[in-house]
């Protein structure tokens, strides 16, 4: 047996190498980070520096690859098209902010320098995940990403909540992964392929797929809904958001959600939104229902929360609901895909920013920041108060911020797709969301601080991350034309 039979990459062309370079950079960077992180005294500083450099390098390489020809590796398993490369660019950028955000937070929370390596591993998994259209490959990418995140979540050794969160996430996440894998095997058994494009072709020609396929699809959809944190699959989410160190929560909330949702969209587009197959209508209704339920549940439960991270965790369930509305619209409208990407992109910045501000105010090993603790902080620290206001207004979808543009695009494409009842649910529940976002702003600016519970932690990393996110949020909110046209260009 020749080696090429097992490993079909006989030789890589320059273009292929060019497109794979970011993955190499991230992986080598991660290993390098692990090595320098062992330095006795300055491990954190070196690890941060190395990972920053390598992620930056990866960003640069992806940008370079973006202007070069597209390739498709392993018989169409890995696609490096402008679209996937842009998504990789975004994900890597989130990883960069996540790294910056961790600087300072790592020492405060007693996180190991491996933190930086894990972020890079996760980013590599994410790039693979958004680039592939092969179910098994997607599973592997999902695992690369998730395993890194499980460790990140439980890395806060001083806090028992962190271990609890990590274990919870690991067990439930493992179950979801198993469901994904089993579902993929059933789909393969029924239709004979792991390749989403091939499966789509089969479904288009065969309007009556076997029941095994539907069971497999059901398992895959459930696993994906778990990963994006939609309503009945959300149980892990608030605890994990609270238990994890805030910088990890920020990175998770932005990048994992982004990746998982786009992978889900990719699956849905090929396997669910096929008009000719009658039985798939059930899945469309299912998503419709999950979308409405997530919006209602997430927003109403968030009202009752007095702890910031937990509140944002429930609000992220609501945002998943809005995103599922956008996903649902992809069935009818070509613009919906773009709106989805934009919304995720804008939401990620608000998320990263809000958690960076939280990390500046919470104490060491604190489970969560209580809303009473931030009373009057907007007055004491006007710049951070302003940033936080921008992020919250963006999440609430108020004009001047990118969140408004995101919501505008998402809802308008949903209306264009004829999803008016669901849009009305979304709109009315957003009013509810405005209440709890405003509540935070009220505490920041309008309540007198009762005690000096929250102390501002001097950490340059989160401040920088908050600054970048705030600039991005306002920039895309006021002058969104460039980014929208760019996303439009790459999706066509």
């Amino acid at each position: 047996m020749e080696i090429t039979d097992i490993f079909p990459l006989q030789s890589l062309s320059t273009e292929e190498i060019l497109n794979l370079l970011p993955l190499f950079s991230l992986s080598f960077g991660a290993i390098f980070t692990l090595i320098v992180g062992t330095h006795k005294t300055k491990g954190h500083g070196y690890a941060f520096l190395i990972s920053f450099v390598f992620i930056f390098l990866a960003l640069f390489q992806i940008t370079y690859a973006l202007f070069n020809s597209d390739i498709s590796l392993l018989g169409g398993t890995l696609n490096f098209s402008p679209f996937t490369k842009t998504l990789s660019l975004m994900v890597t950028f989130f990883a960069l902010i996540g790294t910056v955000l961790s600087y300072g937070q790592d020492k405060k929370e007693g996180l190991l320098p491996e933190l930086y390596a894990l972020i890079q591993f996760a980013a590599a998994g994410m790039i693979l995940m958004v680039s592939t259209s092969h179910l098994l490959f997607m599973f592997i990418a999902l695992e690369i990403m998730s395993l890194a995140i499980y460790v990140l979540v439980s890395m806060r050794r001083g806090s028992r909540f962190s271990a609890e969160a990590g274990l919870k996430y690991f067990i439930l996440g493992g179950l979801a992964s198993a469901m994904f894998l089993y579902g993929s095997s059933l789909v393969f058994g029924a239709l004979g392929s792991f390749q989403l494009t091939a499966l789509e072709d089969v479904l288009r020609s065969n309007s009556n797929p076997p029941i095994i396929f539907l069971i497999g699809l059901g398992l895959i959809v459930s696993a994906m809904l778990f990963k994006v944190g939609a309503f009945p699959f959300h149980g892990w989410l608030p605890d994990v958001y609270q238990g994890a160190s805030t910088n990890v929560t920020a990175f998770m909330g932005a990048a994992v959600k982004f990746t998982a949702f786009l992978a889900f969209a990719r699956i849905a587009q090929s396997l669910i939104f096929i008009d000719t197959v009658e039985s798939l209508k059930w899945f469309q209704w299912f998503i419709w229902f999950i979308a409405a339920a997530s919006m209602i549940y997430g927003n109403f439960v968030a009202i009752a929360q007095n702890e910031l991270k937990r509140m944002l965790a429930y609000s992220t369930i609501a945002h998943t609901g809005y995103l599922l509305l956008g996903l649902q619209s992809m069935n009818y409208s070509t613009d919906a895909g773009q709106s989805l990407v934009l919304y995720l992109f804008f939401y990620a910045f608000a998320n990263l920013g809000a958690f960076s501000v939280i990390s500046l105010f919470e104490e060491k090993n604190q489970k969560d920041l209580h809303i009473e603790q931030i009373a009057g902080l907007g007055v004491k620290h006007p710049v951070l108060g302003f940033f936080m206001t921008v992020f919250l207004l963006s999440m609430a979808g108020i004009p001047l911020t990118s969140g408004f543009i995101g919501k505008y695009g998402l809802f308008s494409s949903a209306v264009a797709a004829g999803q008016i009842p669901l849009v009305i649910v979304a709109v009315l529940t957003s009013v509810v969301s405005v209440y709890y976002y405003l509540r935070v702003i009220v505490y920041l600016f309008m309540k007198e601080s009762t005690s000096d519970l929250a102390i501002y932690q001097r950490m340059s990393g989160p401040v920088l991350a908050a600054f970048v996110s705030a600039v991005a949020t306002l920039q895309f909110g006021l002058f969104p034309r460039a980014i929208i046209n760019f996303v439009k260009l790459i999706t066509n």
Binding site: P399, S412, I424, V431, R481
Partner: protein, 516 residues
């Protein structure tokens, strides 16, 4: 494009530029922040006067427009222009702003909380208000409409009274419910323009050319017509802001809790955003639906007039009394707008301006009293006219304006509304007319309880009369009260062509109605 085409944008963004100046103002100059605000409002007012000068009263359509492509792919453009309907409202904003700053200047020795943030919010608020009145694009309108909320939220929430947080959150949420449904309607319009013209566009010009399906044969067909739902979505957003009964409950809370300058802006300008929206968008773009539901809105307007007046009568809190009087007076505008009659529509526009002047003036009076005596309870005043005669005169003038005495500006607004609406719906107007009487009752009652009667307080020795700043504000207000009252044409003639064109085409669209 003519050279003056950027003028409107200057009006909109000049307050924002001043806000930036306020932001970077060195600490040594921070005591001058109010002066800076006054300068800003005067600069904006001067720009508005230039605009008034440039405005050609013989043209019935939008002019001085300024277009910047913002996001044309989504049908989002920055397009501002002015016509005879927005002109008086912009001028109202321009004149009320400096007067509000002058009239609510904190007295010596009063602690000023977070002054910098306060004046920045005032400037931001003005940008929002000018922007809403000047937008000629539905998206831009919505944008500014929402932007107005943010400074108002902070103004009430930080510098308000005891229950300020409850009031400000209520204010924000009420407005949000309406405006988000309006957003859905905007999406639908964008989709319609996309389907008919091939490009999405939401400029008022484009929407005017569209007609949304409406079948008025039976209630069932009406409820199935898209125009009905579009109209109701827009109308809900606007009537909450007006506010129309039963969506008015945010208003007394917001007014009572707001700082005086916030109340003045809220009463004088922010409420007009609602009626302006009805006049500009909800009624002309969806005329058949508006006409179909017009009796309901007139009924609600009449209920508002009477209910607001009775509520005002029952109040002992002076500020709440003025707040409920706003509910009552705004009811006239609802009646006038939905009468589909030329005279009534013109009257509604006049009433918007006049209510802005009288309610703004009354809130300033409340502010004068509160700053000096730290109470708003009517029963704790009494016999003040002997101590503060100038304030008594100013208060009397504002009261007369509010009760629509002939010769004051209030009459110029309410009389045409009742006259025009009478030709269409005499029964409703009969009831609305009682509001005029009730209005006199509660307004004069308030005056009597504050200024006349025996002195109940013992601490009136050190009560100061109006100072120069306050007198200037009140004198300018008085000029407007009697100026508009005696020479309405001199103030409103530039709107005539637009109003004529507006009501003619509106009445034409809904079929003959009234005697015009």
């Amino acid at each position: 494009m003519e050279t003056s085409s950027c003028l409107l944008s200057w009006i909109i963004f000049s307050p924002l530029l001043f806000a930036l100046v306020a932001l970077i103002l060195p600490a040594a100059l921070e005591s001058k922040l109010r002066t800076l605000t006054l300068v800003q409002t005067i600069v904006s007012a001067l720009l508005a006067v230039v605009m008034y000068w440039e405005f050609d009263g013989t043209i019935a359509t939008a002019q001085l427009s300024h277009l910047v492509l913002w996001l044309p792919e989504w049908g989002i453009n920055y397009l501002v222009s002015i016509d005879g309907i927005s002109l008086p409202l912009v001028m109202l904003t321009a004149f009320v702003s400096p007067l509000a700053i002058l009239g609510t200047w904190p007295l010596e020795g009063v602690e000023r909380k977070k002054e910098k943030f306060f004046v920045m919010m005032l400037m931001f608020l003005q940008t929002g208000m000018y922007g809403t009145f000047l937008s000629s694009d539905l998206f831009l309108f919505y944008f500014f409409w929402e932007v107005v909320l943010i400074p108002m939220f902070f103004l009430i929430g930080i510098w308000g009274g005891k229950e300020r947080i409850y009031a400000t959150v209520k204010f924000f949420l009420y407005t949000m419910v309406g405006s988000l449904l309006m957003l859905v309607a905007i999406f639908f319009i964008l989709k319609t323009t996309m389907d008919t013209n091939g490009t999405p566009s939401a400029t008022f010009e484009t929407i005017r050319t569209l007609s949304f399906a409406f079948d008025g044969t039976s209630f069932e067909t009406v409820m199935k017509s898209p125009q009905t739902w579009l109209f109701l979505a827009f109308a809900l957003a606007f009537v909450i802001k007006v506010p129309m009964v039963p969506f008015h409950t945010w208003l007394p809370d917001a007014h009572v809790q707001a700082p005086t300058v916030g109340s003045v802006f809220l009463a004088a300008v922010l409420l007009k955003l609602g009626t302006y929206g009805l006049m500009r968008i909800a009624i002309p773009f969806f005329p058949q639906a508006a006409h179909y539901f017009s009796e309901f809105f007139i009924l609600m307007g009449v209920i508002g007039i009477i209910y607001g007046a009775f509520c005002a009568l029952a109040q002992t809190d002076f500020k709440k009394l003025v707040a409920y009087s706003s509910v009552s007076h705004m009811g006239y505008i609802m009646v006038g707008l939905f009468a589909f009659n030329k005279i009534a529509i013109a009257g509604s526009l006049y009433q918007m301006i006049n209510h802005g002047i009288s309610a703004g003036g009354l809130f300033m009076i409340v502010g004068f009293l509160y700053e000096r005596l730290h109470t708003r309870n009517l029963e704790e005043f009494g016999g003040l006219s002997k101590v503060v005669p100038v304030m008594a005169i100013a208060f009397m003038i504002m009261t007369l304006s509010s009760v629509a005495l002939p010769g004051s500006n209030g009459f110029v607004g309410e009389f045409p509304i009742l006259l025009g609406a009478f030709q269409v719906h005499p029964m409703y107007v009969l009831f609305a007319g009682t509001g005029v009487i009730l209005g006199a009752v509660y307004a004069l009652k308030a005056y009597q309880m504050v200024m006349l009667g025996p002195q109940t307080r013992t601490d009136l020795d050190h009560l100061h009369d109006l100072n120069t700043r306050e007198i200037i504000a009140m004198v300018v207000m008085t000029i407007f009260v009697f100026g508009i009252g005696f020479f309405p044409k001199a103030f409103f003639w530039k709107s005539d062509a637009t109003l004529d064109f507006y009501s003619t085409s509106l009445i034409q669209k809904v079929g003959s109605n009234g005697n015009n």
